[in-house]
Amino acid sequence: MNGVIEGGWEYVYAAYIVVMGGLSLYGITLVSRLHDVTTMLADHKRQQLAGRSRRWANFLIDHVIIGLLVFLMIRMDTAISAGLWLGVKAVLIYIVYYMVCETILGRTPAKFLTGTMVTTTTGGKANPVQILSRTLLRLVPVDPLSFLVSDSGWHDKLSETQVVRKTSDDSNPTP
C-alpha cells in the first residue's frame, strides 16, 4: 500500500450524477421556462386582440353608417350625379369617415360600440399615414376574406396596425 486510495467508484458515480444531472435539470427547466414565457405572451396577444366577431360587427356597423352617409349625400345632392362621379363621392366619404374617426379618436362609431380601438402593432397611436393605408387597403374587395384565415386583416398587417379590445382595467400584471 503506497497511499493510493482504493475503490471509490461510488464517489465517482455520485459526482457524475450530480454534475450531469444538475446540468440536465437546469437545461430542462430553461426549456420549460422558455416555453411558458412564449405561451404567456401568445395568450396575452390572443386575449387582447379583438376577435373576429367584433371585427365583423365593426365592419357591418361602419358600413351601415357609411351607407347612410352616402344615401344622405345623394338626397342632398341637387345635381343628379352620374354613376362614376357618385362612386368617387362614395369612396371619398368612405375615406374621410375612417380617416377622421381613426386618426383623431383611434376608433370609429362601430369600435365605440364594440369596445375596440386601432393601435400600432406596438400598442401606440397609429399615425395618419397608417390610417390612410388601412383605409385604402380596405377598398380592396378581397380584404374581408383575410379574416377567414386570420384574426387580423390584410389592411392591419400591411399598415402595421391592429384592433385591440379597450378595457378600463389598466392593471400591470407582471410575470
Binding site: 471509490g8 465517482v12 405572451l41 382595467d169
Partner: protein, 234 residues
C-alpha cells in the same frame, strides 16, 4: 423555440460530454495516488472553469451595460450569472463528493472552499437583487454595479490555493496532468461544459428578452394617456 446556433452548441456539448465521460471513466488510467476517485475531477474541474467563465462574462457584460446602457448586455449579465450559479452548485457538491474519500471529510472551512461558497452566495444575492427591483433600468444599473463589486471575489477564489496554506490542491490544468488520456478527458468535458454554457446563456437571454418585452408592454405607460389600453399587443 431553438435556432440553428442553439442546436449546434447543444449537440456539440452532448457529443463532447459523452465522449469525455467515456474517456474519463473507461479509457483514462487511475491516478497514481487518488486512484479512481481522481475521475471525479473530470467533471468537477470543468465545472469550476465554467463557473469562472460565467462570472467573468457577467462582469464584462455588466461593465458594458454601465458604459453603453445596452439592454442586451444587461440580459447577458443576468443570464451568465444564473448559469454560473448552476455550475457553481455542481462544483461545490462534486467537490464535497471528491473530498470525502480524499481528505476524509465532506467539507472544511478551507480558504478555497470558503471563498468558493462565498462566491456562490454573492451571486445568489445578485439574482435576488434583480428579483426585488421592478423598474428595468434601475434594476439593470444596480445589478451591474453589484456584479462589478462582487467580481472582486473571483481572483480571491482562483488564487486562494496559492495565497494561503490550504488543504485544496493547486488548480488542475492539462499542463499539470502527465497522462494524455487524462488530458483528453478533461479537455473534452471542459469544451462540452463551455458549449452547454453558451447554449444555456443563449436560451436564458431569450427568456429575459421575452420577459422584458412583456414588462415593456404592461409596465410602461402607453404612448398616449387616453384612452388607455390594457396591455398593448405586439
Amino acid at each position: 423555440m431553438f435556432n440553428r446556433t442553439d442546436l449546434i452548441f447543444l449537440f456539440l456539448g452532448l457529443a463532447l460530454v459523452i465522449f469525455g465521460s467515456y474517456w474519463g471513466l473507461v479509457v483514462a488510467p487511475p491516478e497514481e495516488f487518488m486512484g479512481d476517485v481522481y475521475r471525479v475531477l473530470y467533471a468537477h474541474v470543468p465545472a469550476g472553469w465554467t463557473t469562472f467563465i460565467a462570472y467573468t462574462v457577467s462582469f464584462v457584460a455588466s461593465t458594458t451595460y454601465l458604459l453603453r446602457s445596452s439592454e442586451r448586455a444587461d440580459r447577458m449579465a443576468e443570464a451568465s450569472a444564473e448559469v454560473g450559479i448552476v455550475f457553481n452548485i455542481v462544483l461545490l457538491i462534486s467537490g464535497a463528493i471528491w473530498a470525502r474519500p480524499t481528505w476524509g471529510i465532506w467539507w472544511t472551512w478551507d480558504p478555497r472552499l470558503t471563498s468558493a461558497a462565498i462566491m456562490f452566495f454573492m451571486y445568489v444575492g445578485y439574482l435576488a437583487l434583480r428579483a426585488f427591483v421592478d423598474e428595468p433600468e434601475k434594476r439593470a444599473t444596480w445589478a451591474a454595479v453589484v456584479a462589478i463589486l462582487i467580481f472582486v471575489n473571483i481572483p480571491i477564489v482562483w488564487y486562494s490555493v496559492k495565497w494561503w496554506n490550504t488543504i485544496h490542491q493547486l488548480q488542475s490544468s492539462p499542463k499539470t496532468i502527465p497522462n494524455s488520456d487524462m488530458k483528453l478527458a478533461l479537455r473534452c468535458n471542459a469544451f462540452a461544459f463551455l458549449a452547454f454554457f453558451i447554449f444555456f446563456v443563449r436560451v436564458r437571454m431569450r427568456i429575459a428578452a421575452l420577459l422584458r418585452k412583456y414588462e415593456g408592454e404592461y409596465d410602461e405607460p402607453p404612448p398616449r394617456a387616453e384612452p388607455t389600453i390594457s396591455g398593448g399587443v405586439a
